[in-house]
């Protein structure tokens, strides 16, 4: 119980910060709700990218730095292919491309490096990152492209009865949330209820033992990287549909890093919850914490969104290094 105290204190502070604008009447309830929803939507995207990290880390112990580059690559593929064919065909083709990529990564990068130090594998994924960034430009071009999801752009006004003036929601945000929820549900089903999922969890726990009972490690790795690739497509399409496909997408990986620290490197629920906490946290901090700070210290203002996630992750590392749902490691001395 004692070790939970710092976490509970941190949670209490975060919750207090979340509701403070409402309680202190700094904001109209409608506006506050809009900021909250905006944060949740950003959080869904962070969660999706973090999910890619977690999947690969669980099954192979590899911290895949290339997850952000995979999102960019997938988004570029969908954007450029959809110029020539219907969107759903483009997405199916992108799935094939990501599976092929998974197979190549397993063959050319993971297999030769099996049983090497984690650092060697991390460096290898750094290599994959830069290769994908560059190769993506070579193949698909380096302009800003758009993905047309066929969802109307203008936001809808809802809950006009509850809040004064109602709140605005983007339809594509709602669609994104629904897709993300379905995806997470499917993944949970896959991991918990299928023999392949069981084999994946087995590999994640102990490579040697998994091989000794006849689980083919190489095939499992291809499956896991393929699933991470498909998650990257979903994240890339949602992001690209909203803001356009451009290089900065690959930087979202850097936002997913604190999410994984928060949620725990091996936990799928952790990635989801962590993403939402950071998404909401940084939006709230930007909107409601920024202005008072600016007033009080006569600052230029802005930019809280950029560091908030990392500060939160740092605090979490101090009080709970394994993350919200990560496995606690006890080393024998």
């Amino acid at each position: 119980m004692k070790r939970h105290v710092p976490v509970l204190v941190l949670a209490a502070v975060l919750l207090a910060g979340l509701f403070a604008p409402l309680v202190l009447k700094l904001s109209a309830p409608g506006f506050w709700t809009e900021v909250l929803l905006g944060g949740l939507m950003a959080g869904v995207l962070y969660s999706l990218v973090a999910l890619g990290f977690v999947l690969i880390f669980k099954a192979s112990g590899v911290f895949n730095f290339a997850q952000g580059a995979m999102v960019l690559f997938a988004a570029l593929a969908v954007a450029r292919l959809s110029e020539r064919m219907p969107l759903w065909v483009a997405i199916l083709l992108a799935v094939a491309i990501m599976v092929a990529l998974a197979w190549l990564v397993e063959r050319l990068v993971l297999r030769p490096l099996v049983n090497q130090e984690g650092v060697a594998l991390l460096m290898a994924t750094l290599g994959v990152t830069y290769f994908l960034d560059g190769f993506g430009q070579t193949v698909w071009g380096s302009d800003i492209y758009s993905i047309d999801l066929g969802i109307a752009r203008e936001p809808v006004m809802v809950l006009e009865k509850v809040f004064e003036g109602g709140i605005l929601i983007n339809r594509d945000d709602v669609a994104a949330a629904v897709v993300a929820i379905i995806l997470v549900g499917l993944l949970a089903l896959f991991f918990q209820k299928t023999a392949t999922g069981r084999a994946l969890r087995a590999v994640a726990d102990d490579h040697q033992a998994a091989m000794s009972i006849g689980i083919p490690l190489n095939r499992i790795w291809v499956i896991v990287w393929s699933v991470a690739g498909i998650v990257a497509i979903v994240a890339g399409v949602i992001w690209g549909g909203k803001l356009g496909v451009q290089f900065s997408i690959s930087l979202v990986a850097l936002k997913a890093l604190p999410v994984v620290i928060l949620g725990g490197f091996t936990s799928i629920p952790g990635a989801i919850l962590g993403g939402l906490i950071i998404g909401v946290g940084e939006k709230m901090a930007e909107v409601f914490l920024g202005p008072p700070l600016v007033q009080m210290f006569d600052l230029a203002g802005g930019g809280i969104e950029n560091w908030f996630a990392y500060m939160l992750a740092l605090l979490f590392l101090l009080v709970r290094p394994e993350g919200l749902f990560g496995e606690k490691h006890i080393d024998r001395v």
């Binding site: 023999a195 069981r198 726990d205 102990d206 091989m211 009972i213 083919p216």
Partner: protein, 270 residues
Amino acid sequence: MTAPETHLHFQGRNVGEVILSVEGVSLAFGGVKALQDVSFDVREHEVRAIIGPNGAGKSSMLNVINGVYHPQRGRIRFKERQFTDMDPHEAAVLGIARTFQNIALFKGMSVLDNIMAGRNLRMRSGILAQALRIGPALKEEIAHRQEVERIIDFLELQPYRKTQAGRLPYGLQKRVDLGRALASEPKMLLLDEPMAGMNLEEKQDMCRFILDANDQLGTTIVLIEHDMGVVMDISDRVVVLDYGRKIADGTPDEVRNNQAVVEAYLGASH
């Protein structure tokens, strides 16, 4: 080797033909010679022990049979199939299962899932069918589950089905390790110090499980063990290694009275 083998009887067991033969195996790690020109065979349905002082090369031998290490010289024949290079996955496919000296359970998974994972090789239906639990996949899952229940009964693990394997006490973890290995219905089972760190009662239980597996399931057993009493009690034949070389091979009685073995263990005239 070509003439039909006579059936031998050890300790009242009906022992069959040779299913594993190790021929002139040498293994070195850099300058360290872990195994030097070791040859022996294992007969079907037999309990075969590999013993020796610390650092004699016992675990290395087991890892060679299991395909974790690849010997620089020599070859291994398992059921008519000859190989020098294979990996643990191929070994599993051929019907060689193993347990680990430092238990390597899937710690985050339940006891049930651990043993179910052991049946991985026997699963057939596709991912989609598994997820939706339709038709043959459902029938298959139920059949596997029944088989696993039989193993759970056999190893008296009933109260721990849903317990996370990593939370079990040491002796029980060893039992789950055995259960997972048995779940693949192996022809041959390699046990790496199955009784290490156990108290007397746990050792007796484990002996009983090993002998029952051998007797009821017909599994051939190859085990490494430190406890000489246990080895002499349950083994049909014993190979003795010392500094990577085979120094004796025979029934427990023969080995016990072998001068080289006594010297290796007591350190006389070394």
